[in-house]
């Protein structure tokens, strides 16, 4: 998910959302900087997706 020009700093917020077994998980957030940051965060997102599939995660709440 992408949110453009929000907040006092008019930043672009990225929310990494995974859909696994018909459930939607909000996994992480970061401020868009450049393609390298996107790639780095994507790699971390891959780890989280794998953990969700393995049921190895903690839930902080439901939106």
């Amino acid at each position: 998910m992408k949110w453009h020009n929000i907040g006092n700093g008019k930043v672009q917020l990225r929310l990494a959302v995974a859909i696994v077994n018909h459930k939607i998980f909000l996994c992480q957030w970061y401020v868009k900087r450049d393609d390298k940051t996107d790639q780095k965060e994507l790699n971390r997102f891959k780890i989280k997706i794998q953990k969700i599939i393995e049921n190895g995660y903690e839930a902080r709440g439901i939106l």
Binding site: K36, K40, L42, R44, K46, I47, G56, E58, A59
Partner: protein, 179 residues
């Protein structure tokens, strides 16, 4: 990132049947050691890379990156992933933690930063972040992130710091518990 780019990125996933990837992992591990990163961290990150494709990709990204700030960020990210994965037994069911309400986040961030300011001063009095990195095995980049951002410190990290500095855990954890 487009779907095509994401799918292409999956092609770099670690494959335990691919001998070349084992060799690459070893080479990256040696590079990390050569830069002064602790053996404990490197061993942990290798185990992580065997288990999680994203961790392998982060290691490859670190090895090809030339910008030092981004390299440090990747190291700090990998340390966070190691800390999160340090549970030996994964929960079998959904494990729920306390919900942090949006309205409380600013207050929590202020408390956390006040705690970290005190911790930073204590670390400087003791001998500094570089020395702490050597004693704990936690990469300096990871300690810098811990001390300079409002992220909630992990209990396991505070325990390592307390042990290295010969502090009673209660001296650090009492601040932690009040957050």
């Amino acid at each position: 990132m487009s779907t095509l780019a994401f799918n292409n990125s999956l092609k770099n996933n670690f494959n335990p049947d691919n001998v070349d990837q084992f060799i690459i992992l070893g080479e990256i591990a040696n590079s990390m050691l050569a830069t002064g990163i602790s053996r404990e961290f490197v061993a942990s990150v290798i185990i992580l890379a065997f288990r999680y494709a994203g961790a392998y990709d982060l290691m490859v990204m670190w090895s090809t990156e030339t910008e030092s700030q981004l390299k440090d960020e990747i190291i700090a990210d990998l340390q966070e992933e190691i800390d999160e994965s340090s549970k030996l037994i994964l929960p079998k069911h959904l494990e729920k933690k306390d919900y942090l309400h949006f309205d409380n986040l600013d207050e929590i961030a202020k408390n956390v930063m006040a705690f970290k300011k005190n911790l930073k001063a204590e670390i400087e009095r003791w001998g500094g972040v570089s020395k702490l990195s050597k004693e704990t095995g936690i990469p300096q980049a990871s300690l810098s992130r811990l001390l300079n951002t409002p992220s909630l410190p992990r209990r396991s990290t505070l325990e390592k710091i307390a042990k290295a500095m010969h502090l009673k855990e209660s001296q650090l954890l009492s601040h932690w518990l009040s957050i």
